[in-house]
Symmetry: none
Subunit: 305 residues, 2 copies
DNA sequence: TGATTTTGTTGACTCAGTCAACTAAATGCA
DNA sequence: TGCATTTAGTTGACTGAGTCAACAAAATCA
């Protein structure tokens, strides 16, 4: 794609998105706030204690204009301003309880707008859209810091996601065939079917509402736990999520009184192997196999707890 | 019902992009045109011969406001308007040579803006951003015509997708619990593990590279085939995809010499039931159950082939 | 110490955008 | 056919979002 075509496409997208945002922002019309009001209220609500100058800078607003809006907010009891003891020219802006209520109401309304849009989409599409937004933002916003990842227990649909992401990854990267997806589906299906919350667990790493990693611990009997289906999506590598997930497994297994944690992996997964080494796993055996098409080197690792 | 984290992330992106577009649009300040002027000029310049009403609709502008702007453009010699011979109320708007010059100058300026942005990026990054813009647009722009749906055999990741979409759907719509995902994972996993291409099959309906439907036929032994996991995503309903998928199953089963096709479903799935009736299935038994939490009415349907 | 910069406020203004009322042509309907 | 209703576009009258210049008070610089 030539430079000019790229630029034209970007412009086209910008025209479309200008329109799209315009439509979304009509939502503020049935509240007493303008779009600018809402943006300011949002900024104050989420960064309590900013100064007027910082606010004007962030939102690219005229200081005079902002000053008037803040004055109005003050008389309406939405915000409180106190001079900054460190710089008496500067005013520290805080939301009052009423202000916070309004802020939250606006938030609810904005969320509903987007939820309504997302509702017309296929399952998986909102995730795709948000993931694309991440991409754009990461590229065009120099100040963007990646959203923090959270680790949580699995919920509806996550097991399917695990199977899908594992299968896609090994197929694309190593040319494994559908037998691998079958194995994963079996492991994951059995995990769900016999799920014993007292001794087993599934962790999902999520960033900005998008699944980016997984791992699960299953009960192998005789005090032995198995770590399975460790995965970190390529969009979230290098953040230490893999290590975090494995640490979580180890902590869980110790707490549940397991004596040993075992895992099976393949040697071309170097990042994973590094994590296993660092967390104290020991390689106990190795065998070449062709379980999924191409030849690979299966490895068994063990950690005494 | 979409995930809150997804929505928050999307809102965050929208705030960012509002800002970003605001900065880009400042570019128009050193021309005699406002942003609205520029949008109108662009629209006329690229779709010669539009009517004022169409223009107002496309750009979501007040007709009165637009009328005034067009009047100004006319006196400045940027456009020419002639009554539409087919409807004398309506005016056909065309750009004059001067108008086209201005339009192109604006275009050059907007391109330069974006080029400057892209210039600060690494090689490959502009392409990534534009590709992400495509993704968003395809998903959020209702006028972007939907790609036609196709039906194909399953491939890597599809079984995981089936589990995920089934689980999400039944959880969100009917409050079924994880036991359902476990059942689906088991069915789908067994299908993959014992997959016999001579007697079994999995169809995926796909649109624009995104999965929107599924169904599979498994061998039940004794000349009996089972139709399972029929699903059409809400974004693709009403296109007859469900019927198409079931027809495909029946054709396949006849060709493979099965004597009977059986399926199990639940009676609240009315669209599915309508398809089964229409394709000749007969309801043979029914039982209330609580297999997945809420009470439901399980049904067995049979089609003699 | 006095010159300069920074934070925020106020006065005065403009013009983008809205709303209601209207004309003229087209369409629907009995 | 003729009368009521709808649609395309225009104009008058208005509002209020946003801008610009000037200013006070505090902080910083040199």
């Amino acid at each position: 794609m030539s430079d000019i075509a790229l630029i034209e496409t970007a412009r086209d997208f910008n025209r479309f998105y200008t329109n799209f945002l315009g439509l979304l922002n009509k939502a503020y019309l049935d509240s007493p706030y303008t779009l600018t009001d809402a943006r300011i209220l949002f900024e104050i609500g989420s960064h309590d204690g900013v100064s007027a100058t910082a606010l004007a800078g962030d939102l690219h607003l005229d200081p005079a204009y902002l000053s008037r809006i803040l004055k109005r907010f003050r008389t309406e009891g939405l915000i409180r301003t106190d001079p900054d003891p460190a710089d008496l020219r500067s005013q520290i802006i805080n939301v009052t309880d009423r202000g916070r209520e309004e802020f939250e109401e606006l938030g609810r309304r904005a969320n509903a707008q987007i939820a309504a849009r997302f509702d017309t989409l296929a399952s998986g599409e909102p995730e795709a859209a948000v993931s694309a937004m991440h991409t754009i933002r990461a590229l065009l916003d120099p100040t963007a810091k990646p959203a923090p990842a959270i680790i949580r227990a699995h919920r509806a649909g996550d097991i399917g996601w695990i199977i899908q992401s594992q299968s896609r990854f090994y197929t694309e990267e190593y040319g494994w065939d559908l037998r691998f997806e079958a194995l994963v589906a079996e492991v994951a299906g059995k995990f769900l079917a016999n799920f014993d919350p007292a001794l087993e667990y599934c962790w999902i790493a999520e960033r900005g509402g998008i699944n980016v990693g997984s791992v699960l611990v299953t009960n192998g009997g005789d005090g032995i736990a198995k770590l399975r289906l460790l995965y970190v999506d390529k969009s979230a590598r290098g953040l230490g999520l893999g290590k975090l997930l494995v640490d979580e497994c180890i902590r869980f297994c110790r707490q549940k009184g397991y004596s040993e944690l075992q895992l099976w992996t393949n040697d071309m997964l170097e990042t994973a192997r590094a994590i296993y080494v660092k967390t104290g796993f020991r390689l106990v055996s190795e065998e070449r196999h062709r379980m999924f098409g191409p030849e690979a080197n299966g490895q068994n690792w063990v950690l005494a707890l």
